[in-house]
Amino acid sequence: MTDRLLTIRNLKIEGRSDETWNPIINGVDLDLNRGEVLGLIGESGAGKSTIGLASMGYARDGVRISDGSVEFDGIDLVNASAATKRALLGKRIAYVAQSAAASFNPAHKLIDQHTEAPVQHKVMDRASSVEDGVELYRKLRLPNPEQIGFRYPHQVSGGQLQRAMTAMAMSCRPDLIIFDEPTTALDVTTQIEVLASIRDIVEQFNTAAIYITHDLAVVAQMADKIKVLLRGDEVEEADTRTMLSSPTEDYTKSLWAVRSFHRPEKPAIVTGSTPVVSLKNIDAAYGRVPVLHDVSFDIHPGRTVAVVGESGSGKSTAARCITGLLPPKSGYVEFDGEALPLDYRKRDKMQLRQAQMIYQMADTALNPRKSIGEIIGRPVQFYLGLTGKEKRKRVDQLLDQIELEPSMYYHRLPSELSGGQKQRVGIARALAAEPKFIICDEVTSALDQLVAEGILKLLAKLQDELGLSYMFITHDLATVKSIADEVVVMKDGRVIEQGGKSEMFQPPHHPYTDLLLSSVPEMDPDWLSTVLKERGVDNIGDAAVDKM
């Protein structure tokens, strides 16, 4: 076939750890025609990025292609010399990385990085490459395309950087682009713009692409066909619509089913009841930079309040005000109807133990040198004064509650646990203080969907058993749908809208809530086109909030 661009046969990749080579990819085949977009999906550790890089003939340090072939347009990339590969990379095969902020060199202006590949590969001279860059920036609907290239990466927002990186990948008009989770680090309203831009430009230049993501709804918008991976093996491959409507493998079906977890609706709050936590007219600032403006909301016993908003909207700052880590400038925090000292240093032990936190990054929130038993035992001893056998008994109880076998996990270190297990330990540590109220700060966003669902179910179970109240900080509206009772929408440090879940997910909305809701990708492959049509393609650039 003449239009076959990339052929991978029986690809095996190994990674080195502790002086031995362990398999990462166990023989994957892949075919890609010119102008075709393949979506690679799977959980973390499935080997998506490794395959993406291997299709460029590239393996990271400590990783090697041990067997199989990668043929790009008739060139054998596994056995090609470094010089041969360099001549292809950037010119005919380009890469768009997950974090544009980290993948742009902080020392050089965007346009200098843009023109590097065309100039070095002698595709065009600098002047015409600059001109072309500006044209691409315009096509990708970057604001101020004439000047934005002359900025340094730190002067440009994340979503814009991601588009500038797509422009950079396009600079030599490659035949193939590898998109490695290009929108994972972005807010939903930004993500939709970047998705639209990428899809447009790939179509326009008839570029083939491998689109790597763990988000099924995103891949549904972007790909012509989808390949599902699980721990280095292919599960199945089919064209997008077939894959979405009738997956054949159980694993794929389980991935598709994740979004179906919903808690039953709770009865409405009794009017006049005292909330567990109540924020009253909070204003807060970091130094002289104001962050929160007149924020008020209540959290009632046994209920979950989801606080949603994009990065920088002040969700986590509100949590810091409740815990007293950041004393607000004005306003106050009430606990069971009683005003708390604003600074945590002025709160007594009883007041402190009532509000506990679970963090987004379980990795960094657990002391790597302490065993699980010590980590959970510390608050047990500190707040409840238990020692010796009683302490051990209580820790074992807590481990049971988070569904980790005490005898197996008590002496382990955090590094010996998986991401989901670490997050469970974080939950147990919060429970150890026997609080009424727990702040969950993006607790599932670093986890794979199946694991995240397990955590959500656990939190729901604990709430039913212990009558806990949750403040659930998240940017993921699917999570909100599945567990929240009340929703608070924040933007730029203000509460835009709040109310019960069912009313929040039904129109009419505040326009911002509307934008937020409509930006969440859906599994329907036509979703992106529909939304763009509704919004009017021309103003997507303006539709989302310009965050500089």
Partner: protein
């Protein structure tokens, strides 16, 4: 730009404060030296009256605090005072031209700065080039050889390196003079030629540190996503390192360079002695020997200023090399 200016002004103010504190420390430390000038000049058999007379002459009988203030006031007005040794001559010989500490130190300081400059001109480019190359060919034979060579040279005593160089470059192959007695009448070329051997010795001493920091700072960055990006754009390994890693590694490298340059100004006594080079280090040691306090204090203050000034320059250069500070949002 204004934020950079603000940081620089802050650093300048801090530098001045540091110098002030250093002046106190120097003064106290020098005065804590055992023995005094009167005792050492008059010898063992001196009468207490004679010693007291000289002490009074030199103002050594004043309380410490008064002496410090007098000295500080002199320093601030650019008057480094008069060397005790010179003053003594004047008293006993009755008049004549009296040499101030300033005129005594100036030519020596000039020589020292000249030697430091020649050394820096050789050592800095060589270290950075070696650092870049050993980062590029890391763990290769070249990398190991460079590491072994620079580490052995920094681990050897300076006089040993000096004699080895004399043996190879002056005795076996008479390319350079083994003595570096320089004076005003020399032409630039002659001066340079005579300085070359001590400069090469010092280059061997300072290269290891700068080269290893360059190598480490670059290798540290090689795992960054933007370095991977540059590789995936098909850039050559040397371009990846020079264009993408080096600009981001500048700050630590600049700091180590500053530290080594400061060493060149302040710590090269041994090399000066071996090559009979008339630098400030020898003057300093001689003055300590005879407790010539004004000269010792002036030298200390010059050394301290060199450190403060070079580190300040390094700070400012690192700030300027960081686009986040140069171009705020």
């Amino acid at each position: 730009m204004s934020s950079v200016l603000k940081i620089i002004l802050q650093r300048l103010a801090l530098g001045v404060l540091t110098l002030f504190i250093v002046s106190v420390v120097i003064f106290l430390a020098v005065n804590a030296l055992p023995g005094d000038f009167a005792q050492s000049i008059l010898g063992q058999g001196a009468t207490p009256e004679a010693i007291a007379a000289i002490r009074k002459d030199l103002g050594l009988d004043q309380p410490l605090f008064t002496r410090y203030l007098t000295w500080l006031a002199g320093m601030l007005t650019g008057d480094l005072g008069v060397s005790f040794a010179q003053m003594n001559f004047q008293n006993s010989m009755g008049g004549g031209e009296m040499e101030t500490v300033a005129t005594q130190i100036a030519p020596r300081l000039y020589n020292t700065l000249w030697l430091a400059a020649v050394t820096a001109m050789i050592a800095v480019p060589v270290s950075i080039a070696l650092g870049v190359l050993s980062a590029l060919y890391r763990n290769s034979l070249f990398d190991r050889a460079t590491n072994i060579f620079t580490l052995s040279s920094i681990s050897s005593p300076e006089f040993f390196l000096a004699y080895i160089l004399i043996l190879f470059l002056a005795v076996l192959n008479p390319l350079l003079p083994s003595l570096s007695n320089i004076y005003d009448e020399l032409s630039f070329a002659e001066r340079f030629q005579r300085t070359l051997l001590p400069a090469l010795t010092l280059t061997l001493v300072v290269t290891a540190h700068m080269m290893r920091m360059t190598r480490a700072a670059i290798i540290n960055l090689l795992a960054s996503p933007y370095i991977e990006m540059a590789r995936l754009k098909g850039m050559s390994p040397i371009r990846v390192i020079v264009k993408h890693a080096l600009p981001n590694a500048l700050a630590p490298i600049i700091n180590v360079i500053a530290l080594n340059l400061a060493y060149l100004v302040t710590g090269v006594v041994v090399v000066e002695v071996v090559f009979v080079y008339p630098g400030i280090g020898q003057l300093f040691v001689d003055s300590v020997k005879i407790r010539d306090i004004p000269v010792v204090q002036a030298c200390c203050l010059i050394f301290a200023s060199a450190y403060v000034l070079l580190n300040l320059t390094a700070d400012i250069l690192s700030i300027i090399s960081n686009p986040r500070l140069r171009h705020p949002k």
